[in-house]
Amino acid sequence: MLNDYLLPVLVVGGTGLVGGVMLSIAAKYMSVKKDERFDKVRECLPGANCGGCGYAGCDDYAQKILEGAPCNLCNPGGAETAARLAAVMGVEEEEFVPKYAVVHCGKNCEHTPLGMDYQGVPSCEAASGFFGGEYACKYSCLGFGDCVLACEYDAIHVVDGTAVVDKSKCSGCGQCVKTCPKHIIELIPCSKNYYVACSSKDKGPVTRKNCEVGCIACKKCERICPEGAITVADFLSHIDYSKCVSCGKCMEVCPTGAIRNCFTAIPVEEPAAEEEIPVEPPVAPAGKTVDPPEETGTF
């Protein structure tokens, strides 16, 4: 009688007790010490887990801040978050440079001829893996909108076959930059308005054949830039935003319309095709190499 009722209760109860005691002992002696500032730091971050700071999410960034990472990397949080983080960490406030994304490709459906009749899965990732996509220019935006899906702020849209960023909505989280299989999206400081809407590293004549609005490396922008912020390397113009003053002279002088203003990303008028365009003979990149937009390629 006693055995029938008491023993099972004792066995189950005892198992639970042993388990509980073991767990509480383990929790006491094996607990991992957490920096008490961690929660405070984590609270300051917006929690979008976008990875725009370059770390694996808000938790990881909070951890890295405690380990000495700079406080001004959070793009969605902006200057306010940077200030609060600096206050929590007791360090001097660093200037926050808000950034937004630009797409280094400015073609529309007519500018670039198709190189094939692509009928595969309608995603940039798939198309990019299939001989680099359907366009004649292998550096061009594929226009299936992987970046549109990645964007949580509704800031990037495919217009006429090419992704265009709405600067007013872009939070600079960098999701699109990570998603783009062509690696043609880049974050640039919000204070600068001009960007090179082309990623083609083909020689000038090849680019010209493949696209009406590509950078043909004529170097006009390099010559006219009063600040010396533009360099042409790998047959592609590159703006150094630490020097750029957003004067817009490069856009005026660009014969193909490859340099653009982010507010008028789609050019209204067609580039003057009649004008004689000097195409620079291919020259080896000069001594100073600029960091090229990450290599394009298949995965």
């Binding site: 066995v11 189950v12 639970g16 388990g19 383990a26 929790a27 094996m30 991992v32 899965v121």
Partner: protein, 198 residues
């Protein structure tokens, strides 16, 4: 001897696949099969917990419950043991292998109440497997789960990208249909073990 264990493992993975033939662990099978990383992480975590749980529950049943005629406490006490064990393993992992904890950490607590874990520990008892046999069975079952997760992840990513799926079937319905088709495919393995080893 080795042949026997090989047959057991192959049987667990292909013939008696825990998800596709025994229909246990459907919840994580549908829940975390959208991304390859998490599918593999979950599969490895389940394998790990299965072996740990079997290692703890088999002696508990054989040396404590059965001799005293309390076999009916099996389910109740197994849940208790598995839950405590998983928690303990998580704490230990957090302390000594933070990187592994980061990989499996999210899934470990989820597995505590995964029916596959309880199911396999009870199956081990019902089939009157020995201790080592039970461990091998648990390990093989885990591998079978991992295989099912990886297969289903591949199928699912294609379904998600496919065009022309009717609105009503998008998402879970099409995933369930795909799962049933894979399951039927696995029926084709029945008789495999007898054919090879028998």
């Amino acid at each position: 001897m080795a042949k026997e264990y090989l047959a057991l493992i192959l049987g667990c993975i292909l013939v008696n696949n825990v998800v596709l033939a025994q229909f246990m662990g459907i919840c994580p099978f549908l829940g975390v099969s959208k991304k390859m990383d998490s599918a593999v992480g979950m599969g490895i975590a389940v394998t790990f917990v299965l072996v740990m749980a079997t290692a703890a529950t088999w002696p508990f049943y054989t040396y404590l419950l059965q001799p005293r005629g309390m076999a009916y406490l099996e389910t109740l006490s197994f849940i208790l043991i598995i839950a405590a064990l998983v928690q303990l393993v998580e704490i230990i992992m957090k302390k000594y292998t933070p990187s592994l904890h980061k990989q499996l950490g999210v899934y470990l607590p989820l597995i505590t109440t995964n029916c596959a874990v309880l199911g396999i520990t009870i199956t081990n008892i019902d089939e009157t497997y020995g201790y080592f046999q039970s461990l091998v069975n648990a390990f093989g079952t885990g591998l079978g789960f991992l295989l099912a997760m990886i297969l289903f992840n591949g199928v699912r990513s294609r379904i998600d990208n496919a065009e022309g799926i009717p609105e009503a079937l998008k998402g879970i319905p099409s995933a369930l249909i795909a799962a049933s088709l894979i399951s039927m495919g696995f029926m084709g393995f029945s008789g495999l073990i007898e054919g090879i080893f028998g």
